[in-house]
C-alpha cells in the first residue's frame, strides 16, 4: 500500500465537523487525492454525538483545555442503580440542530445521494412554558399554533388575537414581495417584537409565540432576520409530510451527516485518519509540507481546516439531561397522517424562570426534547437538550428550566433525571476565508436550527480545491453508486 509520504495530496482536510465532511462528500467524485484527518479520535468535531463513555473522555479533554470551542464541561450521574442503561445505548449530540424542510442541506444530501444512508425524523410541536400562577398549581406547556388550521382550532388565544396572528401568517408567506416590503423595511433593523406590536398589534404573549418560532437565542432577533426565519419555518411546513416543518437526523443529528459524508469520501478514495492532527506546516513552499502528529511528513497542494479559536467568551450554555420517562404526551402527532415526531421544542421565554437568588431570566431558554426514536437513548427514556445564551447565572437557569419542565410534565410522579452533561460552547465572529492555498472554516454556529449560510463556505472551499476544474452544475450532484445487481441465488 502506498505510504502517506509517497503521495502528493491535492488537499488535506483537517477536522471532521459538518463543513469539512460535506467538503469530503463534494470532492468524492473528483479524482483529487484527499487526505482527511482529525486530531480527535471521533468523527464530527463540534457536531459529534457521544456514548456516555465518550462523553467522559470528551469532558476531560475540555477541562484540560484541549477542545478550543468548549469550556466548563461536567458530568453528573445519580448514584446507585438508576435505570441508566449501558454507555453505548446513548448517543448524545453536541449540536442537536433541527433542519428545516426547505434547507439546501437536505436538497444537497438528496442530489449527492448521501441521504440514503441517513434516517430523518419529524420535529413536532413547538410549545411555550408557562410558570404556575401560584404554588398550588403545576406549570404548563402551551402548544404554539403555527398553521392556519392550528390557529382556527386553538383555544389558547382569544378571537381577536387569532385574527392578528392569521393576518401575520399570511403576511409572512410573501413578505418580500412589493406591497409588503413597504410594511417592514422601515423596521428592518429594529427588534421583531417591536414590529409585531406596531404593525400587527400583537400583545406580549403572541410576540412570544412568534419569537419562539425563530429560536432566537437572545429573543432580540431583528425584523429582517426574524421574518426570513419565520417564512422558512412556515414554508417548510408540510413539505415532506403533513404536520411538521423540520427534520432531525436519527442517532445524533449533524454528527450522522458528517459520518455518512466521510464514508462517501472514503468510497471515493479519500484516506481517513482520526487521532491525527497537524503538528507543523510549512506553506512557504509549494507543495505545502505538513508534519502530522502521527510522525508522518506529507506534501499537499491545498489545506482546508477549521478555525477553532474563539474570539471572545460569549457563547451558549448547554445542559443535556437523560430522564427516565418516554414523555409520550410531547410526541403525539396533531395532524392526521403525520409521522410520529421524535423531537419536540419547548421555549422558556425571558422572565419565565428565576434563579435560586430570585433573579428573573433575561434571555429565553430553549429545550429540544428527543424521544428514544432518535436512537439517542433507550426506550422509556428521553434526552433533554437545554440551551441558553451565556450569562453569569446561565448554569443555574438551565437547572431551573430542567426542574420546571419536569414539574410541568409530571403525572403521578415527577420523571427522574438520570444523567446530566453541562458545558459552554464559545461563539466566534471569525469568517470562513481562503488565503492562498489554505482555507479556514469559521467555527460552527451555536444556533438551534441549521443555517444554510454554513453551506456557502463549503462551496467556497470546494472551488478553492478544484480551481478551474470546478463545474458548478456538478456540485454535490451525483448519480447513485449502484451496487451491481446480480443473478439470484438459491439455497434451501
Amino acid at each position: 500500500m502506498e505510504s502517506l509520504a509517497d503521495t502528493l495530496w491535492d488537499v488535506v482536510i483537517c477536522g471532521t465537523g459538518l463543513q469539512q465532511s460535506l467538503l469530503a462528500l463534494a470532492l468524492s467524485r473528483s479524482d483529487k487525492k484527499v487526505l482527511h484527518i482529525d486530531p480527535n479520535d471521533f468523527y464530527g468535531g463540534a457536531e459529534a454525538a457521544f456514548s456516555l463513555q465518550e462523553v467522559e473522555s470528551w469532558v476531560e479533554k475540555v477541562e484540560a483545555g484541549k477542545e478550543g470551542l468548549f469550556e466548563a464541561a461536567s458530568v453528573e450521574k445519580l448514584e446507585g442503580d438508576t435505570g441508566l442503561s449501558f454507555p453505548r445505548a446513548y448517543s448524545l449530540a453536541l449540536a442537536p440542530q433541527l433542519i428545516h424542510a426547505r434547507s439546501t442541506l437536505l436538497s444537497q444530501l438528496v442530489s449527492s445521494r448521501a441521504y440514503r444512508q441517513v434516517e430523518f425524523l419529524a420535529v413536532g410541536s413547538f410549545s411555550i412554558f408557562k410558570p404556575s400562577p401560584d404554588s398550588s398549581q403545576k406549570p404548563t406547556l402551551v402548544r404554539i399554533p403555527s398553521t392556519r388550521e392550528d390557529v382556527f382550532s386553538t383555544t389558547a388565544i382569544s378571537a381577536k388575537a387569532k385574527r392578528g396572528l392569521m393576518k401575520f401568517l399570511k403576511f409572512v408567506l410573501d413578505y418580500d414581495s412589493t406591497p409588503q416590503t413597504a410594511t417592514w423595511q422601515p423596521h428592518a433593523d429594529a427588534p421583531l417584537t417591536e414590529f409585531l406590536l406596531k404593525e400587527f398589534k400583537m400583545d406580549q404573549e403572541l410576540q412570544t409565540y412568534i419569537i419562539t418560532l425563530t429560536l432566537s437565542l437572545d429573543g432580540k432577533i431583528n425584523t429582517r432576520d426574524g421574518l426570513a426565519v419565520i417564512r422558512r419555518h412556515l414554508s417548510s411546513m408540510g413539505m415532506y409530510g403533513p404536520g411538521f416543518a423540520a427534520l432531525y437526523p436519527k442517532w445524533g443529528g449533524l454528527s450522522e451527516i458528517a459520518q455518512v459524508s466521510c464514508r462517501a469520501g472514503a468510497v471515493g478514495g479519500a484516506v481517513y485518519m482520526l487521532g491525527t492532527g497537524v503538528k507543523t506546516m510549512n506553506n512557504k513552499e509549494d507543495p505545502i509540507v505538513i508534519e502530522l502528529t502521527s510522525g508522518d511528513t506529507i506534501k499537499t497542494r491545498k489545506v482546508v481546516r477549521a478555525n477553532e479559536s474563539a474570539t471572545d467568551h460569549s457563547g451558549i450554555n448547554r445542559l443535556v439531561a437523560v430522564v427516565g420517562s418516554s414523555l409520550k404526551s410531547l410526541f403525539e402527532s396533531t395532524v392526521e397522517g403525520a409521522p410520529t415526531p421524535a423531537v419536540a421544542i419547548v421555549a422558556f421565554p425571558a422572565g419565565s424562570l428565576s434563579t435560586a437568588a430570585g433573579e428573573a431570566s433575561k434571555s429565553p431558554v430553549y429545550l429540544s426534547v428527543h424521544s428514544s426514536d432518535t436512537g439517542e437513548c433507550p426506550v422509556n427514556q428521553s434526552v433533554l437538550y437545554f440551551t441558553t445564551g451565556s450569562e453569569h447565572a446561565s448554569k443555574d437557569l438551565l437547572q431551573q428550566a430542567l426542574d420546571s419542565f419536569l414539574a410541568a410534565v409530571a403525572g403521578d410522579t415527577v420523571p427522574q433525571c438520570l444523567y446530566k452533561l453541562q458545558y459552554k460552547q464559545l461563539q466566534s465572529s471569525a469568517q470562513s476565508q481562503a488565503s492562498g492555498s489554505i482555507f479556514d472554516f469559521a467555527p460552527p454556529a451555536t444556533a438551534l436550527a441549521f443555517d444554510d449560510s454554513t453551506l456557502q463556505s463549503v462551496h467556497d472551499a470546494w472551488k478553492m480545491v478544484l480551481g478551474d476544474e470546478a463545474v458548478e452544475e456538478e456540485y454535490l450532484t451525483f448519480a447513485d453508486r449502484e451496487g451491481a445487481m446480480d443473478d439470484d441465488e438459491v439455497y434451501d
Binding site: 500500500m1 502506498e2 468523527y43 453505548r88 448517543s91 437536505l106 436538497s107 444530501l109 438528496v110 441521504y115 440514503r116 444512508q117 434516517e119 430523518f120 425524523l121 419529524a122 413539505m239 415532506y240 409530510g241 411538521f244 427534520l247 436519527k250 442517532w251 450522522e256 459520518q259 455518512v260 466521510c262 464514508r263 462517501a264 472514503a266 468510497v267 471515493g268 478514495g269 484516506v271 481517513y272 485518519m273 482520526l274 491525527t276 409521522p339 410520529t340 415526531p341 421524535a342 426514536d373 447513485d480 453508486r481 449502484e482 451496487g483 451491481a484 445487481m485 446480480d486 443473478d487 439470484d488 441465488e489 438459491v490 439455497y491 434451501d492
Partner: protein, 204 residues
C-alpha cells in the same frame, strides 16, 4: 425479480484489517471475478447487492465493504447502523492479521445490535484452522476458510450468515433502520439498502 425493492433487505458488513481480502471475497462472490494483481483498496464501490434465496424465501442482501476506512481504524459508528450480520475477514498468511481480530470483534460487538450474526472468515492458503475456530467460538460466531483465488467456500459465509440472520428471532426487526414510526422519506424509496424500509412516494 432482482430489482424488486419490496424484498426484505439484509445489511451485511465485511470488516477486518487492510489486505485481508475482503474486496476480493466480495468480488468473487458477487461477480465471480478475481484479479491477483489488485491489492489496492477498492475505490468507487459503496456496496453490492445480491438476491439470495434462503429456505425458500428471497432476500436482498446488501454487502458493505470498509471503503479503506479500516486502514487507520476509522470506521464510523454510522457504518455499523442497521447491520444484521458482520463477516470478519483476516488473512491467514499474516500473523498480525489474525492477532488484530480480537479488536475487530470488540468493535463489531460494540456497534451493532444484540444477536447480530457474526462470522469469522479465514482467507488465504495455509490451513491452521484451530485458532480461528477457537476465536470464533469465543465470540459466538461461525467460522470458515474461504479463498477468493481458488473459489473454495466463497459462497459459504454469505449463505450461512443470511441463514443465521433469518433464523435469529427478532434480529431483522431489531436492526431495521426504518423502524421508527416517524421516519421521513426525503427522496422516495430507492434501490439501495435503505430505501426499501421507507414508505414509497416522492413528496418533494
Amino acid at each position: 425479480m432482482a430489482s424488486d425493492d419490496t424484498l426484505p433487505t439484509l445489511k451485511v458488513l465485511l470488516i477486518g484489517p487492510s489486505g485481508a481480502g475482503k474486496s476480493a471475497l466480495l468480488t468473487r462472490y458477487c461477480d465471480d471475478e478475481f484479479d491477483p494483481e489488485t491489492s489496492a483498496a477498492t475505490i468507487g464501490i459503496d456496496f453490492k447487492i445480491k438476491v439470495l434465496n434462503v429456505r425458500g424465501k428471497p432476500y436482498r442482501l446488501t454487502l458493505f465493504d470498509t471503503a479503506g476506512q479500516e486502514r487507520f481504524r476509522t470506521l464510523s459508528t454510522s457504518f455499523y447502523r442497521g447491520a444484521h450480520g458482520v463477516l470478519l475477514v483476516y488473512d491467514i498468511s499474516t500473523r498480525a492479521s489474525f492477532l488484530s481480530m480480537e479488536r475487530w470483534f470488540t468493535e463489531a460487538e460494540a456497534n451493532t445490535v444484540e444477536g447480530v450474526a457474526l462470522y469469522l472468515v479465514e482467507g488465504g492458503r495455509e490451513v491452521t484452522t484451530e485458532e480461528g475456530q477457537a476465536l470464533a467460538e469465543a465470540h459466538g460466531a461461525k467460522f470458515c476458510e474461504a479463498s477468493a483465488k481458488t473459489r473454495e467456500n466463497v459462497r459459504l459465509p454469505f449463505v450461512d450468515i443470511v441463514d443465521r440472520i433469518v433464523q435469529t428471532p427478532g434480529l431483522i426487526q431489531n436492526a431495521r433502520l426504518g423502524r421508527a414510526a416517524g421516519a421521513v422519506a426525503l427522496g422516495g424509496s430507492g434501490s439501495d439498502g435503505y430505501g426499501a424500509y421507507l414508505p414509497g412516494g416522492c413528496s418533494c
